[in-house]
């Protein structure tokens, strides 16, 4: 399968602390790849390197024949094709759900007000938020806010979605709706790189799982492969309850 995202020999240090060491990872078209591992193992940092919210120290990340880390890469242009969803939703509190989705369509893609609104409503509708166009984030549940955030990313037409613990900040009864949205995205062919502690969901929905420890990918494979590996550290992790 042709990789959409091809991470090669990626290193990242904060001062003296090396938090990513020689990361190599390919994410194929339409694949859902999970990054799992203990806290502080570098999962989120790796994810954030993929759209350069963190600047890697060295290495390459290829996407559509462009090295995202090259000096002459227009990262703002590439970011439209790399959606990101955050643990804390990070919706703009001073804008309605619709305005949240419309902002980058207007400012970055230069779409007309009418066109941006049409796209925003379509994406929010897909997320089951047709009744919530005019609501402010403060008037929405956590699960609804996260689905607005997903719609905000999808509206730009990304080729890959980076999801940083998308359900960790949600009350348990609201997790299902977000996981359902992710399932639908996968069914629609979206490529996804996901940091999550939802192990049950990973076992069932992930195509590949990368288990990270101390800044390295120490095990990699399908959920079934990792679960079958005797004595593997990922096995205990992935086999967990959540």
């Amino acid at each position: 399968m042709r990789p959409i995202l091809d991470i090669q020999a990626l290193y990242k240090s904060f001062g003296d602390a090396e938090v990513l060491k020689n990361i190599n990872l390919k994410v194929g078209e339409g694949e859902m790849v999970f990054l799992i591992g203990p806290s502080g193992s570098g999962k989120s940092t790796l994810l954030r390197c993929c759209n350069r919210l963190e600047e890697p120290t060295s290495g390459a990340i290829w996407m559509d024949n462009t090295n995202l880390l090259a000096g002459d890469t227009d990262i703002n242009r590439m970011r439209q094709r790399i959606g990101m969803v955050f643990q804390g939703f990070n919706l703009y509190p001073h804008m309605t759900a619709e305005q949240n989705v419309m902002l980058a369509l207007r400012r970055v893609q230069g779409k007309s007000e009418a066109e941006a609104r049409e796209i925003a409503r379509r994406e929010l509708d897909r997320m089951g938020l047709a009744e919530r166009f005019g609501h402010y984030p403060s008037q929405l549940s956590g699960g609804q806010q996260q689905r607005v955030a997903i719609a905000r990313s999808l509206a730009l037409g990304p080729r890959v979605m980076l999801m940083d613990e998308p359900t960790s900040a949600l009350d348990p009864e609201l997790v299902g709706g977000v996981l359902e949205a992710m399932r639908e995205m996968k069914a629609a062919g979206m490529t996804m790189l996901v940091v999550s502690h939802e192990m049950r969901f990973a076992r069932e929905a992930a195509d590949r799982v990368a288990f990270m420890q101390a800044g390295e990918i120490v095990e990699y494979g399908t959920p079934a492969e990792l679960l079958a590996r005797e004595g593997g550290r990922a096995r205990a992790f992935l086999g967990g309850e959540h």
């Binding site: 919210l53 990070n90 902002l103 980058a104 609501h135 402010y136 403060s138 008037q139």
Partner: protein, 227 residues
């Protein structure tokens, strides 16, 4: 208490009528000076806060020293220094502009601190969310960060703006014919306190709408929250 005496000294219609034109002129000077101070002070303060986002560390230190000095010094000291000191080095500025420069600089220093605190209060996640959609730093600032920062700043800015703008009355110390100065002149000519009452009412008429405007701004930025 002798009520008719009180009325004659403090609410004397004849005196009021005689000095009304002078006081109106003074009120006009106060209003125009206030508007110029508020406009320039807030714009300069915001510009300094934004500059602080991109300044190197030493630049920030220099700015902080400048801002702290302006916040520490009494406005009257600066006014007297500029008005009586500058002519000795061959530079003479009219009383109106001395007050304007002084109060603008002082307001800009306080406004810079308030705007900066507002900018800092916006979580990093807001920047990251906007940047992750391909928005530039400038677009993020304009569309995402500043509107939220303004909301945080409005109550404090209102207090400081009114507190500093009222210092236009210090113009009386260098003989500028603003509202309080005209009232004092009228007081000494008439031997009657009515002009001072008129000036007090004048200040209310000038500053109460400012507070109403600030209240309106705060309410219009509730963003779905019922406070």
């Amino acid at each position: 208490m002798d009520l008719s005496r009180l009325i004659e000294v403090y609410f004397n219609a004849g005196v009021a009528w005689t000095y009304l034109p002078d006081l109106l002129h003074g009120a006009w000077v106060t209003v125009s000076l206030s508007v110029l101070v508020i406009a320039a002070g807030l714009v300069l303060g915001l510009a300094m806060a934004l500059l602080r986002l991109v300044l190197p560390r030493w630049g920030v230190e220099v700015m902080r020293l400048w801002v702290d000095c302006l916040r520490a010094v009494p406005p009257l000291a600066v006014i007297l220094l500029l008005y009586f000191g500058l002519p000795s080095v061959g530079l003479s500025i009219s009383a109106f502009w001395v007050i304007w420069i002084t109060l603008t600089l002082i307001l800009s220093a306080f406004a810079e601190e308030i705007f900066w605190a507002g900018l800092e209060a916006i979580p990093a996640g807001q920047w990251e969310a906007a940047r992750s959609t391909g928005m530039t730093q400038r677009q993020t600032l304009a569309d995402v960060v500043l509107p939220q920062a303004f909301k945080i700043c409005v109550p404090q800015l209102t207090n400081r703006t009114i507190g500093i703008t009222k210092n236009t009355a210090l113009g009386t110390a260098i003989g500028m014919p603003e509202l309080l100065n005209e009232a004092q002149t009228a007081l000494s000519f008439s031997g009657n306190a009515t002009p001072l009452i008129m000036a007090a009412i004048g200040y209310l008429i000038i500053f109460l709408p400012l507070m109403a405007l600030a209240g309106y701004l705060e309410r219009s930025m509730s963003w779905g929250k019922t406070a």
